[in-house]
Symmetry: C2
Subunit: 211 residues, 2 copies
DNA sequence: TAGATTGTTAATCGATTAACAATC
DNA sequence: TAGATTGTTAATCGATTAACAATC
């Protein structure tokens, strides 16, 4: 099975190819794709080999064919539903970000403990009370959840989403989740990311001998 | 110099230690820290060796001393300012997320092209017009920027922030930035992250032989 | 054909893990 | 002391890069 890094790059290639097709370009070389994706051309070729897509020597890769191949590899056949847990500042930004982007991978239900938010429709998505989470996720056959609740409730939110049938979690709460091994967890820790950048913007200054 | 992954883990250890100190615990073993950080105890020891902090055999690590050592290693001596570029849904969520968290690493200025947002104070942060970005960043001696603008303006926003004096960038725009090598860039691509999770929540089902 | 591109294999690199010595 | 923990070195693993063969 393809590695996590490979999947990430494949989604990036798809985005670039979608722009390329708008420019009316029919085929593309690995080094062009690599330059736009910030990767090496060897990397691009290896990734595409991994999904079994073959290019033409001399002509490169057929843009439309490659997009179709990526779609078949990356997307679920009948589309895939996503649940959002936590409709605070971050949760609403997540809803806005994904609203109307990719119909085959859309946020179909949101959940919050705040009774004031329940029943409202935010960026086209209905907000349910937290105690309905297992039922709604099961009914809507949702397999992916985005956790955007405070640290204290993140573990519980994830466990309940999994009981509903979720198999993969995008976790914005800055705490490691302790979940079964077969559940895929992707962490986005904005605080850690900012601290890392801050450290290196300082450290790079130190490297500079002139200062 | 410490690797990116190491820095990320060190910030995580600090968070855990800060909770630990609230419980009145004075020393901690590597395996306890490892369990809470989702790492291995060997990993923890190696990371702490890297910053030159030594534990006591048998007693483990002194919590207060380790926190202080992490602070010296990770934080800039006089505090560090951060700029936010783009005060849309995501930008406002970022402001809310970091508001009042860590005084030594705070968002000190925000920028937006929308004249309606300029002059307003959002989550305690003043919003400036985009054409003031070089000046304000230079005046406030800001070294780190968060990019939360649409894809089309991300490259330009980053370049202008750098002209003001920024050395590190946290980029939320789903596009690779083409910047000088000495600028540290950390990408948070929510779309890619969600696609990855969606892929693996599906792929894991395939692995399951019973389905 | 010659040249440029893709596909494949070997070499390199970095990070992690495992094994062991040192310490209280 | 014995046992448990830390510090250090060697082995392993995975991903990337580099070198080369195959193709149009």
């Amino acid at each position: 099975m393809a590695s996590e890094k490979t999947i990430g790059r494949l989604t990036l290639y798809r985005r670039i190819l979608n722009e390329t097709v708008l420019e009316g370009i029919e085929s593309i070389h690995s080094h062009t794709l690599a330059a736009k994706a910030g990767a090496s051309s060897a990397q691009v070729r290896r990734d595409l080999m991994e999904i079994g897509y073959v290019g033409h020597s001399r002509r490169g890769y057929d843009v439309m064919g490659l997009i179709e191949s990526l779609r078949e590899f990356l997307d679920a056949p009948g589309g895939q539903g996503v649940a959002l847990v936590g409709v605070g500042n971050l949760g609403r930004a997540v809803l806005a970000y994904f609203a109307g982007r990719r119909p085959s991978l859309a946020i179909r239900a949101a959940f919050d403990v705040d009774s004031q938010k329940v029943g409202r429709v935010v960026h086209g998505c209905r907000c349910w009370p937290m105690d309905k989470i297992e039922d709604v996720i099961a009914e809507e056959q949702i397999t992916t959840a985005v956790i955007a609740v405070p640290v204290a409730s993140a573990q519980d939110a994830a466990e309940r989403a999994i009981r509903g049938g979720v198999r993969g979690i995008l976790n914005f709460a800055p705490v490691p989740l302790d979940l079964p091994e077969d559940i895929h967890v992707e962490n986005i820790d904005m605080g850690m990311a900012l601290e890392k950048v801050a450290y290196f913007s300082r450290a790079d200054q130190t490297t500079d001998q002139t200062t």
